[in-house]
Each structure stands twice: as structure tokens, then as C-alpha cells.
């Protein structure tokens, strides 16, 4: 790996390298150091089934690190470049033709590490962030629980103080790629005698510690990227608390903000951009139309054009909202707008895949590329409106926290957690 020395560095009046200079340097460096993306294949291996992919992702991130292109928007003191979102954006654009460590984007680079950056102790930042940017540490979120759903703060996994340590007992689920991770941000209940938001604590825990049992969840498309974990008297030191004891909701809220931003496609902390694996990549509708002999059919052309427009709107909307939140023109919860839009765009796309593929979406030669994916994608259609906080929650947030409408009646508000009614 060579440091990119070919292109010269030009700095602006603020002493920061100009975006254009950075872009040119990135372009030269990427061409020299990163592998180009392979041609699309017929391989339909669902996500998470290929553990070698994780080794590869860590290697690619290490290459970025060695080349001086890791963590563009992370501060310098924690191993990043300390540059702006515009730099990040330029780099992402240049990186599209290359293989990038996309598996690390969610949640490691765009959710967990930013939370540590925002809320961690100086020790935690110095310990974990450089490792993350070097590809040495993969992070995961332990948030949702089997009995949970949208009501994150209603979680029941307990962490009981025992002298200098905490003992964690309970279960978590829907932790993306937990099997491949080193550390996890785990939200627990440390006080059940106060209303739910006030008795939570966030821990950063090692995932391979004794006391954790992990099981992979199989999804309808065969993907096993999510895990379920059972904590049986897991012992962690008090120094692993992120934020304050019983102040976990503040940390969790920050985490949700980063998650919404990332799911909506607006995170500035990513390494490259794109679907994590070929099996879940959106089909090119124009291509699908041609393959199924409908390239000139006006009704199919309308679907192709509409879906294309929707994606352009999504791009423009992300730019608008991210910039407005950054500048304080819009409130932070506005990230929910891009989260909601993401679901609409994704679901419209898969609906059109199915509509264009017709009966080829449901049966055909084994491993067929385009049309057959449509049916597979359709099985996971709701993923886009469930993962990363449901669209129902996003609509609550938009109406209540952006438009200021009255909040939904919560039967557990201001009620000590151990007195709240729960379902079967």
C-alpha cells in the first residue's frame, strides 16, 4: 500500500485541504490501491452466510487506513481525517467503482462508533475509535429485545451492580452481524423502580465474553445476518458504562439518531456506499425490463421512470435534510423524514420489480439473476419499514417532534417500570 502521493494537496483559506484537491488525490489513490468491483455474478448467497466477507471487509478498511482515507469525518485525535462532509461525499463518489468495506458501514462506522465519539469517555474513544478505523474492531448494537418492538425504552434486560462490576441478565435480538463483532453497545435496565426512561444504562461489552450465548436468526430470504443473544450473568466492569449510570436513554437516543441517519442514507461516517451484498442489491429496473422483453412497453417504461425519479428525490432529500440539520435550520428529529422516505423508495422499487418481472418473479431457472431476485426481494419488502426503527415510529416522531402535534398517550408514562402493564 502506498500513501497517495501522486496528486498534490491544495489547502483552502481555512488550512483544510480543498474538496477538489481531496477528490483528485482520492481518485488517484483508489485507482492504485483498491480492487475494482467484480462484474455482477449470479451468486445469490444471502447476507451473512459468508464469514470470509468479514475478513475481507476488515482488510479493505485497513487499506483505507494505511492510505490515509479512513474516517474522513472523524476527528484527527481518534485516528480520523477531521475533514468535512463535502470531502466525505467526494470520496464516496469516487469510490463507487471499487470494492469497499461496506459491511462495516452499519452499524460499526455509522452508528456505534459515532455514539462512542459523542458520548464515550476519553479513554473509550482513544481505546476503540482508532481500532475501528483501522478495521481491527467491529461493533454491534444490543438494543431490541424479543419482547420489545418499537418500545425500546421498555426493555427488560437487567444490569445489577455488584460492587465494582455489573451483572447482566436477559436477551437481545436483531443485532446486525453480531456474530462478526468484537464489542457491542448494550442498553440495560439498572433501576426498575422509576419510569422507564430513567432507569437505563448503556454498556460497551465484549461480545466473546463468557456469559453470552449467540444464535443466528434466519430470515425469510435465507439471510442470517441478524443474531439473538442471551446474557447469563455476564460480568462487566463499571468502566464499560457509556454515558451516565441510569442515563442510558440519552445515549440510546443519540444512537437512534445516528441509526435513522444511516438507514436513510445520510451518514457522513461511512466507507463507501452501496448494498452489502449482491443478493439484496436492488435490481436495475430498466435492465429487468429489457431482459423480460418489455423495454419498449410504455407501461413498463412508466414504472422504470417513476422509480428512477423516486431515487433522485431521495438523493436530493437526503442532501437537503442532512445539511439543514447540520446548520440548525431543521430540528434533529428531521432524520426521521429520510428514514421514512427510504422505506417508501425501497418498497416502491421492490413492488415494481415484482410488477415488471411478472410470473418470472416466482419461478424460473435456479439461481436466475434478475427476475427471480424480484420474488426473493419481495419477501423482505417490509425490512425497509422495520429495520432501524419502524416507519410507524418515524411518523410519530415527524408529527410530534417536527410538527409539534400532541404526543400519543403512553400508558407507561411516569409509571414506575415495574408497574407497567405488558402483553402476553
Amino acid at each position: 500500500m502506498s500513501q497517495a502521493t501522486a496528486a498534490p494537496v491544495t489547502t483552502g483559506p481555512d488550512g483544510m485541504e480543498t474538496v477538489e484537491s481531496f477528490r483528485l488525490r482520492a481518485r488517484a489513490w483508489l485507482a492504485e490501491n483498491m480492487p475494482r468491483l467484480p462484474e455482477a455474478t449470479d451468486d445469490v448467497a444471502p447476507e451473512g452466510d459468508d464469514d470470509a466477507a468479514w475478513v475481507r471487509a476488515r482488510e479493505l478498511q485497513r487499506t483505507l487506513w494505511d492510505g490515509g482515507f479512513a474516517g474522513i469525518c472523524y476527528p484527527k485525535q481518534y485516528g480520523g481525517l477531521g475533514l468535512s462532509e463535502a470531502h466525505q461525499h467526494a470520496f464516496t463518489e469516487e469510490s463507487l467503482p471499487y470494492e469497499m468495506p461496506l459491511l462495516l458501514n452499519v452499524p460499526t462506522l455509522s452508528i456505534c462508533a459515532p455514539v462512542i465519539l459523542d458520548m464515550g469517555t476519553e479513554e473509550q474513544k482513544l481505546e476503540h475509535l482508532p481500532k475501528v478505523l483501522r478495521g481491527d474492531e467491529v461493533l454491534v448494537q444490543f438494543l431490541s429485545e424479543p419482547s420489545g418492538g418499537s418500545d425500546l425504552a421498555g426493555l427488560i434486560t437487567r444490569a445489577d451492580r455488584d460492587g465494582d462490576v455489573f451483572r447482566i441478565n436477559g436477551a437481545k435480538t436483531w443485532s446486525t452481524s453480531a456474530y462478526a463483532a468484537d464489542f457491542g453497545l448494550c442498553l440495560t435496565r439498572t433501576d426498575a423502580t422509576v419510569p422507564k426512561h430513567r432507569g437505563l444504562t448503556m454498556f460497551l461489552i465484549p461480545t466473546k465474553a463468557p456469559g453470552i450465548t449467540m444464535r443466528r436468526i434466519t430470515q425469510v430470504n435465507g439471510s442470517t445476518e441478524f443474531c439473538e443473544e442471551f446474557f447469563d450473568d455476564l460480568v462487566v466492569p463499571a468502566s464499560s458504562v457509556v454515558g451516565e449510570v441510569n442515563g442510558g436513554w440519552t445515549v440510546g437516543s443519540r444512537q437512534l439518531f445516528h441509526e435513522r441517519t444511516a438507514v436513510g442514507g445520510g451518514s457522513p461516517y461511512v466507507s463507501g456506499q452501496g448494498a452489502r451484498s449482491a443478493g439484496t442489491a436492488k435490481l436495475d429496473l430498466a435492465e429487468l425490463a429489457r431482459e423480460t422483453g418489455q423495454g419498449d412497453d410504455p407501461r413498463v417504461k412508466e414504472l422504470v421512470g417513476e422509480a428512477y425519479a423516486q431515487e433522485k428525490v431521495q438523493e436530493a432529500l437526503i442532501g437537503r435534510i442532512v445539511s439543514a440539520v447540520e446548520k440548525g435550520q431543521f430540528p434533529g428529529p428531521s432524520a426521521s423524514i429520510i428514514r421514512l422516505f427510504h422505506a417508501e423508495t425501497d418498497q416502491q422499487h421492490v413492488d415494481y420489480e415484482v410488477a415488471i418481472a411478472g410470473s418470472a418473479a416466482v419461478t424460473g431457472p435456479a439461481g436466475q439473476r434478475s427476475a427471480g431476485y424480484a420474488g426473493q426481494h419481495y419477501l423482505m419488502r417490509q425490512g425497509a419499514s422495520l429495520g432501524g426503527g419502524s416507519t410507524e415510529m418515524a411518523r410519530n416522531i415527524i408529527s410530534e417532534r417536527i410538527l409539534g402535534m400532541p404526543r400519543e398517550h403512553a400508558a407507561d408514562r411516569d409509571v414506575p417500570f415495574n408497574e407497567v402493564k405488558r402483553g402476553r
Binding site: 435480538t173 434466519t218 411478472g358 419461478t363 431457472p365 419477501l379 417490509q382
Partner: protein, 380 residues
């Protein structure tokens, strides 16, 4: 979802449900999903003993319905099978039976009809061709007359239950025009290749015909005059398909409503949130609409009404589009667990998605309706 079943039909439903509960619960469906074939032949034999392939056939030909209206009985049955996404070749075999019964002006096929009715043979309609939508009257597969035989050349795909079918009802183009042939799958030159299917137990395959020789007595009806039988087959297929779909969505809706009562979030059941309640109200409305049109279509086909063609396509247009939408919304109501392999929702989602696509998509049936009503106008 006929609310006015006769007492005999009610007994039939009870017996069917009982049989399915015992022999084909969802756990059994999941087991079959791992096997090479989507169902066991012996199970279909038992279904045939219960009359599942005899309902359309007149008593004098060895058949017999429950209510005197065999297609309505079949629809009731399809609905029950839909409630547990059972893998029976009900539609495939009965569509062939309907075609044979519709085309009585050609060679005699009563022997095959009897064997189909008894479950000894399984039939299927080979009508789709690679790269085409549902265009049953313009087959690319050719049948060339050579003395007392026809030679069939071409490829069919999306053939339901191809791996287990004994008799293929094949649409072909002859010099006389569109013609159907009844071809044993074991005939020389016929090659069946199973294909990937979204449904875990309803399998499809590709069937190649390489110089397949059949006698002139393999023709169904008169050469070049397949149109009426093809229309009849389409109507029967769609009636059974939408009935099955209705059974599936009512079952999914039932357990999703229950889930909404049982599941609490923020100290309240899901069923107490107005935004969700309104979506349940929409689903209920769409499900009732689906049941209504599916039954209306079945009745029209049973009665041979002139409205049958447009009602059948109306049913497919509506049910085919709404059913996947309802099931996806039910997935949404379940949250993450709804997209796991272990939850049963995807079994239903696969089935209704397959049913949406086969025997004409909703879009194809909408264009068909437009053609049908414009043809009506020209006649009037």
C-alpha cells in the same frame, strides 16, 4: 368465504379441515419444504378419496359434487387448503379435468378423466412459454401433423407440479390453429426440469418437447378450436387460485388481529393505536372485497354466465393485487419477527405472491378486461 354454505357444504368444510389439521399442518408443510417433491403422492391419493378431483365430473362419469355445483365446492376446498398453504395439485389437476370436460367434440379421453378423478394420475396445464407472459392462444410450441400422429416441438415453463404430473395438457400451434394435446409425461422426447420456486411446496418446472410423437387421439377437442376450452381452463384455474388466496389472507388476518390484541407497546396493546386500527380496517375491507368478488366469479363460472370472463378477471385483478398487500401489511404489524424464517407469515406471503403471478398477473387480467369490454361494445 361463502357465508351461505349448504349444510352438506358445511360438513364438507369440517371434514376437510379435520383432514388437513391431521395430515397437513404448517409443520408438515415446513417438512415438505426440505424435500425434493412438494407433497407425497399417497397424501394426494387420500385427497382424491375425499373427492378432490371428482367434484367437477358428472356422477355418470364417475364424479360427484357435494352441492350439485361442483366448482363452488372446489372453491370452498381451495379456500381451506389456502388456510394452511397446503401443497395439493388441486388447481393443476382440476384445470385439466375442466379442459377435458369442456372439449367433448374430439377424441375420447374418458379413461384419463377417470384416472385423474381417482387420483391415479395427476394432470397439469403446460401453457406458459419461456420469455412470454400469459398468452395461451398463441403458443410457440408447434404440433405438425404426420399421418396419424402429431410431432410436438417446443418448450413450456412455469408448469405447475411438473415434477409429479403424469398428464400434460399442452397448448400448441397446428396448421389449423391453437390446439390442445393430452400428453403423458412419460412420452419419449418429453424432458421435465424442476425450476426454482418462491413457494416452498408448490413446485414448477420446465418441460421440453423434442420431436414428441403423439397419436391424433391425443388432441383435446377439435384441432384449431382450443379457444373455448382454454377460456374454461383459465376461468377454473383463476377461480381456484383466488379462492385459495382468500383462504390464506383470512387466516393471516385472523392471527394478526390476535397478535395486535396480545402484543403491548408503551403499556398499551397494538390494537389500541389509531394508525394501526385504521390499517386493520382497510385490510378488513379489502379482505371482504376479495371474498366477495372471488365468490361472485366462482358463481358466474359455475352458472356459465356471460359475465364469467370479466368477473374472473376482475377477481384476479383485485385479489391478486390486494392479497400480497394485506399480507405485507400483516408482516409490518408483526414487526421484525414477521420476516423470520421461523414465523409462518412467509409461507403465506410466498403463496399469495405466486398466486398473484400465475395464470395471468393482475396487470394482464386488467388488459384482458379492457379487451373484453371493448369487444362487447363492438358487438352491441
Amino acid at each position: 368465504m361463502d357465508l351461505d354454505l349448504s349444510p352438506d357444504q358445511k360438513l364438507f368444510v369440517e371434514a376437510t379441515r379435520d383432514f388437513i389439521d391431521k395430515t397437513m399442518p404448517l409443520t408438515a408443510v415446513r417438512e415438505l419444504a426440505k424435500r425434493d417433491q412438494g407433497f407425497e403422492r399417497s397424501w394426494w391419493d387420500r385427497g382424491a378419496e375425499l373427492g378432490w378431483a371428482a367434484l367437477l365430473i358428472p356422477e355418470e362419469s364417475g364424479g360427484g359434487s357435494v352441492s350439485g355445483e361442483g366448482l363452488l365446492d372446489l372453491a370452498v376446498l381451495a379456500e381451506e387448503l389456502g388456510r394452511t398453504v397446503a401443497p395439493a395439485p388441486l388447481l393443476a389437476t382440476n384445470t385439466v379435468i375442466a379442459g377435458l370436460l369442456a372439449a367433448t367434440d374430439g377424441p375420447d379421453h374418458s379413461a384419463e378423466l377417470e384416472q385423474l378423478a381417482a387420483g391415479e394420475l395427476i394432470g397439469t396445464w403446460a401453457v406458459y412459454e419461456p420469455g412470454s407472459g400469459f398468452t395461451p392462444l398463441s403458443p410457440g410450441l408447434t404440433a405438425n401433423r404426420k399421418g396419424e400422429t402429431y410431432v410436438l416441438d417446443g418448450v413450456k415453463d412455469r408448469v405447475e407440479v411438473a415434477d409429479q404430473a403424469d398428464l400434460l395438457l399442452v397448448t400448441a400451434t397446428t396448421d389449423e390453429g391453437p390446439t390442445q394435446f393430452l400428453v403423458p409425461a412419460a412420452t419419449d422426447g418429453v424432458t421435465v426440469t424442476p425450476t426454482w420456486s418462491l413457494d416452498l411446496v408448490r413446485r414448477f418446472g420446465e418441460v421440453r418437447f423434442d420431436g414428441v410423437e403423439v397419436g391424433v387421439d391425443a388432441v383435446v377437442g377439435r384441432p384449431g378450436a382450443a379457444a373455448d376450452a382454454v377460456e374454461r381452463q383459465l376461468q377454473v384455474a383463476v377461480v381456484l387460485q383466488t379462492a385459495e388466496t382468500v383462504g390464506a389472507i383470512f387466516r393471516v388476518f385472523e392471527f394478526t388481529v390476535q397478535w395486535a390484541f396480545d402484543r403491548y407497546t408503551f403499556g398499551r396493546p397494538l390494537a389500541s393505536y389509531q394508525a394501526l386500527k385504521h390499517r386493520f380496517a382497510d385490510m378488513k375491507t379489502w379482505a371482504e372485497g376479495s371474498a366477495a368478488i372471488s365468490l361472485a366469479a366462482a358463481r358466474a363460472v359455475q352458472a356459465g354466465s356471460p359475465e364469467a370472463a370479466t368477473l374472473v378477471s376482475s377477481a384476479k385483478s383485485y385479489v391478486g393485487a390486494k392479497a400480497p398487500q394485506i399480507v405485507q401489511d400483516c408482516v409490518q404489524m408483526h414487526g421484525g419477527i414477521g420476516v423470520t424464517w421461523e414465523h409462518d407469515l412467509h409461507l403465506y406471503l410466498r403463496r399469495v405472491t405466486v398466486n398473484r403471478a400465475m395464470y395471468g398477473t393482475p396487470e394482464e387480467h386488467r388488459r384482458r378486461i379492457a379487451d373484453l369490454i371493448s369487444a362487447e361494445k363492438e358487438i352491441a
